[in-house]
Each structure stands twice: as structure tokens, then as C-alpha cells.
Point group: C2
DNA sequence: GCTTATATATTAACCGTTTGACATATAGAT
DNA sequence: ATCTATATGTCAAACGGTTAATATATAAGC
């Protein structure tokens, strides 16, 4: 593996000159530039990123912490972030925390030790001031972690409003809401508040139940869905806080012979691919994941040059109507 | 941010002593060990991983290249690999190649420049000898890339056999096979060969169609499914090369009023979460993703110490029966 | 008491870059 | 011919670790 020194020797200049060219500082004659380029090509030179980062006291890694990579919503986040990070000349260090604070802290230490350029947090960690643990910009996605850490969210409150309005407009007389684990993501609770507000304004009765953290991670909600329907057989519309719950509602209704959308209408949340693949396909609230991720990555990149970034950014959501309503 | 030197000064020894302790080389008195530990704690010292890697000429990053992170099968791979990599003291650099050779090469150069400890390839790159591009162990998942690059696969041929046998045992009289893009993953083609062999042995007629690369990436197979059914209205069993196609078959049958499993039986491949969430749920061939990933990560770790690893490893698959058959 | 083995600490070079300080060459202005 | 800008290049010290070679202290063996 050839080094800067090899390139310098081969092209008859010093390492400083080569480095200067590589980093676009100072002046370089066209002739020298040519010589260096030729040498680099000939030696198949690739700058050692570790040495470079050590010297600059900053790597071009960006850390992304998600609870899990097997949850389809986070997959979308991972996919978007990876493309954006790479597109901006950085590299993605992926961390899955299982939503455990202990693991999140370990990852923070690890990322800090690798001198990452920034961290994007899509995992919980309520009320922990992580900024002390790392000397790099942090930004959280769809969660507000502490007053000082910037966040980029979608309009969860509005999402709840859209869902409730849609169900009511479609003729539902009694609604239900099933949330993910409200403990894990306080922001997402706003979906319920929006939903609730509309129900109350329109005088439509509703019930609400909350899944546990364990259910969220294992993605198994059958039990609570069954008991919800058992104890409220008159419900004709369900708004779920994520699409995975919605898919299971559909499954259970089908088993129980409840026809969708005739007897029961379902609105999910997130708009993951699953919505399209289900039969019937799922009406849902579309989160602008791409926009959110783009903002997050941009923030990290901008903060490299100490440019100020807004502390709170909110993107609008939209309702996507499919077969389940 | 404190350094080794700070720790050494604070505990009244030299950096070598501290480093020696950190790396568990040579001898350290219990007293010294205590002093150093106290100093490290007090200074909240974290070794700079970049410096360490530079010095050792090898980082503890492991690169994973997948076509896309939004495909549910690869999500599972990402999730498994991340956990295993972290569990072995490494960090995951995630790369999404879109199955483009050019991008894969770029990623290889990038990974090489970051002195990764190894690369796990779950993306195509047929017949390119990537080992020249990087001085680190490479291992491919579910693909055979070149004679010299080790791979870990599941038994695709057997998967095809299980699927066909199951459909025939369930009473199907005419079968169809829809493959992903056979161009992208030659290994997966063996699923068809296994399927074909059983059909021929049992004297069951079949048709086979192949999706395009574009369809694989966009996950939209509706067109070919419609035309398959249009031109072969007598098919009563379909074996698809991945679960996403299977979900769409179910969707289209439902639209066309073809009842599943009564009039049409469907077997998918991979056993991603989607199978459970679909209505009806999907019978599929289960790939032991965890085992495969574990083997892959272990291989990379073992090769750090130049331990030999087998060039080809194959894991068995199983059929998981659900509602679609 | 002297030699040897074992335990512990030190010095300094190296990993591959970046970069501030400084040197030299060239050309234009006076 | 001298002075000043401007262009081009060089030296050497960081960055934060690792590690081979070497020195010193301690205990054991005879």
C-alpha cells in the first residue's frame, strides 16, 4: 500500500507539496500537478483516512443510532441516511441500541472515540444530556431528547388529526387508537393528542390503548388487538401509531370475519412498504422520512463549519388513502 | 479530551506503561494498575481509536455492502450483522450499492482507505476479483463472487425442492415460478433448479418467469404477475423467489377474486417479517440469516489472526407453513 | 555473594497525514 | 540593479497511539 511519501518521491517533490495539492491549499503549478497525478495513478494511491482523520482530529464518519435495523420504519431511515451521508462524502457507522439507554451510552463512547463528525439519533434516551459524552454535533430524529439537542420531527399532532378526520369522514361512529410504546417516544404521543382533539370536537367516542416496549420491539401486538376488539365490539375505525400494528389489526379482523373496510376501517402511521404489500393495502399517515433524514444529515455537515442550525424543525405529514378505509 | 500522555502523567508512569496495560502485554503491578485505572476514570479517558488503528495498521471497522437497506431481507442481514459485529468488539460501516458494480468498487476503495478489518458482501459484483482492491478478508453472503473469495450461503437448491414438493403435496396440478432478477444473484437461481427437478420428477407442468433488475430494486412486480396469470389461467400454485413477490401475488389474486389457498397456493422465499403480517400469512422457505451472518462475521474475526477459514459454507433451509398454502 | 530468571519501567522510533513557519525562484515595477 | 509581490517548494512538529529495544529492580537458585 503506497503512501504520500511514495507519491512524493516518485514525482520528485516533498510530501507537503502533495498534501497541499490534495487539500487544495496554496499554489501548485500545472506541471507539478500533472506529475503528482501521474504518480498517484501509477501507485494506485489512496490516502489513509485514519491518518488524515487523526491529524485533523475529526473523521468523516457519521454515526446513526436506531433501536433496531429490522423494524421497517428504521430501515427506511437507515437507507435514506446512508445514501445522504455517502453523497456528502461521509461514511455511515450504524448502531442498533434496542432502545436501551446503556447501549446508547456505549455507542456514544465508541463514536466519540472514533472522532465521528456527528451523530444522528433515532433512538430514545429521554432526558440524558448526551452532548457531554461527545464532542461532535448531535441531532435527533422524531424525538426530543433534551432542550439543547436539535431535533427534526414530522408533525405528529397533525398526523393524528388527519387520521381521525379521515376515519370520521368515512363514516366511522366509534374509534380506537393503539399507540406504540408511549414510553419510548414521547413525540409520537402527539399523534394521539391530535386524534383525541378531533374526536372530542366531532363528538365521536373513542378508546385508546398503549402497547408495551416489549411489544414494540418484538412487533407482536395480537394480544392487545384481540382484547381491544373483545371489549369494544362496536368499534368501526382504528388508528394505529405504526403500520405494523395496522397490519396485525387487518390480520385479526380477517380471522374474526370482520370485513375491511366495510365493517372496520384502519389507518396506520409511517407509510412503510408493508402498507402497499398488505391485502387490503393500508391507508396511512405518510412521514416524509427522506426530508427528515436530509435535514438531519445536512445539519451535521453544516455544523462542521460551525454554521448555526435551527434547534427544532418540523415537516408536514400527509394521509395516503388505500384499501383499508 | 484527555490522551494517553495525560493519563500517564497523572498516574506518574510513562505512556508505554499505560499502553502496555491497555493492551494486556507484559507485566503490571497491581498497585500501578490501580493508579492508572484511577487516573483514567478521573480524566474520563477514552483511547483514540483512530490513532490506535493508524498505529496497528488496521481499524476495528467491518464493512457491510448490501444493495439496499430498504429491502426487508437485507434489513435482517443488516440487523444481524450489526449485532454480531458489535458483539465482537468491532463497528459496522454500512454501504448500500444499489447492486451497481461501480458503486461497489467505490465502497471498496473507501473501506480500504479506512483500513477495515474485513468486508462482508451481500451485493452482486459477479466475476470481479475484488481481493486486489483491498488488503483485508472478504466474505460474501448468498453469492459466489469469485473462486478465491469465501462465501456462506444457504441451500438454495434444497429450498426449491422443498417448495415444489410442498405445493405438489398440497394438491397443485400446475405450477409457476417467479424469480427475482436471476442476473443479480446466480446462487438464487438454484432455487429454480431444485423446483424444476421436482416438477419434472413428479410430472407436474410448470412455467417460469424472471423479473428484471429494475423490478427487484423497485420491488414492483405487478405487471409480470398479471401477465403470468393471464397467459396461464390454470396455474394453481406459485413459488416465488422472494417474499415480496409472494405478497404481491396474494394481493393480485385477491383483486382478481382468486381465493388463497383454495384456488391458488403461494410459497415465498426468505421468511422476512412481511410473511407473518400479510393476510393470509405466507408459507415460505426460511433462510437461516442469523447463522449465515454469524458465520460471516466469525470468518472475518478469525482471519484477523490468519486462521484459515473454509471457502464454501452452506446452511440448510426449512419450509415454514402458513396460511397461503 | 554472585548469577540468572522474572517482573516492571523507560526511551524513542514509527504509523501516514496535515500544516505553520520559512526558503527560494520568478516576474514586474522603479 | 534593486525591491517587492507572487508563486512554488521544503522542513519539521504535531495528531495519539503502539512497540521493539533497553534499562533497572526484585526474587530465586546454588
Amino acid at each position: 500500500m503506497s503512501t504520500l511519501k511514495d507519491v512524493a518521491e516518485k514525482s520528485g517533490v516533498t510530501v507537503t507539496t502533495v498534501s497541499r495539492m490534495l487539500n487544495g491549499r496554496g499554489y501548485i503549478s500545472e506541471k507539478t500537478r500533472e506529475k503528482i497525478n501521474a504518480a498517484m495513478r501509477e501507485l494506485n494511491y489512496k490516502p489513509n483516512e485514519l491518518a488524515r482523520a487523526l491529524s485533523k482530529k475529526r473523521s468523516n464518519f457519521i454515526g446513526l443510532i436506531v433501536p433496531s435495523a429490522s423494524n421497517m420504519y428504521f430501515c427506511k431511515v437507515i437507507d435514506c441516511v446512508e445514501r445522504l451521508v455517502t453523497g456528502s462524502g461521509y461514511k455511515l457507522l450504524l448502531c442498533t441500541s434496542n432502545d436501551e439507554t446503556k447501549k446508547e451510552l456505549e455507542y456514544f463512547n465508541m463514536l466519540s472515540a472514533s472522532k465521528v463528525a456527528g451523530v444522528i439519533l433515532a433512538s430514545h434516551t429521554q432526558n440524558i444530556d448526551l452532548s457531554v459524552a461527545i464532542d461532535a454535533p448531535i441531532i435527533s430524529i422524531d424525538r426530543i431528547i433534551s432542550p439543547r439537542i436539535p431535533s427534526v420531527c414530522s408533525d405528529n399532532y397533525q398526523g393524528g388529526i388527519l387520521a381521525a378526520e379521515h376515519l370520521i369522514a368515512k363514516g366511522c361512529r366509534k374509534l380506537a387508537h393503539i399507540s406504540g410504546s408511549s414510553y419510548l417516544n414521547m413525540e409520537a404521543n402527539k399523534r394521539f393528542f391530535g386524534f383525541k382533539e378531533v374526536c372530542e370536537k366531532e363528538g365521536v367516542p373513542y378508546v385508546a390503548i398503549d402497547a408495551t416496549e416489549e411489544q414494540f420491539l418484538s412487533m407482536q401486538y395480537e394480544n392487545i388487538i384481540h382484547s381491544l376488539i373483545d371489549s369494544n365490539p362496536d368499534i368501526d375505525g382504528i388508528f394505529t401509531s405504526n403500520d405494523i400494528i395496522a397490519a396485525q389489526v387487518i390480520k385479526i379482523c380477517s380471522r374474526r370475519g370482520i370485513r375491511i373496510p366495510q365493517q372496520m376501517k384502519v389507518v396506520g402511521y409511517d407509510d412503510i412498504d408493508l402498507c402497499k404489500f398488505c391485502t387490503p393495502s393500508i391507508t396511512t399517515i405518510h412521514q416524509p422520512v427522506r426530508d427528515i433524514c436530509q435535514r438531519a444529515v445536512e445539519s451535521i455537515v453544516l455544523e462542521q463549519d460551525k454554521k448555526g442550525i435551527p434547534i427544532r424543525v418540523t415537516y408536514p405529514v400527509t394521509l395516503v388513502e388505500r384499501e383499508s378505509t
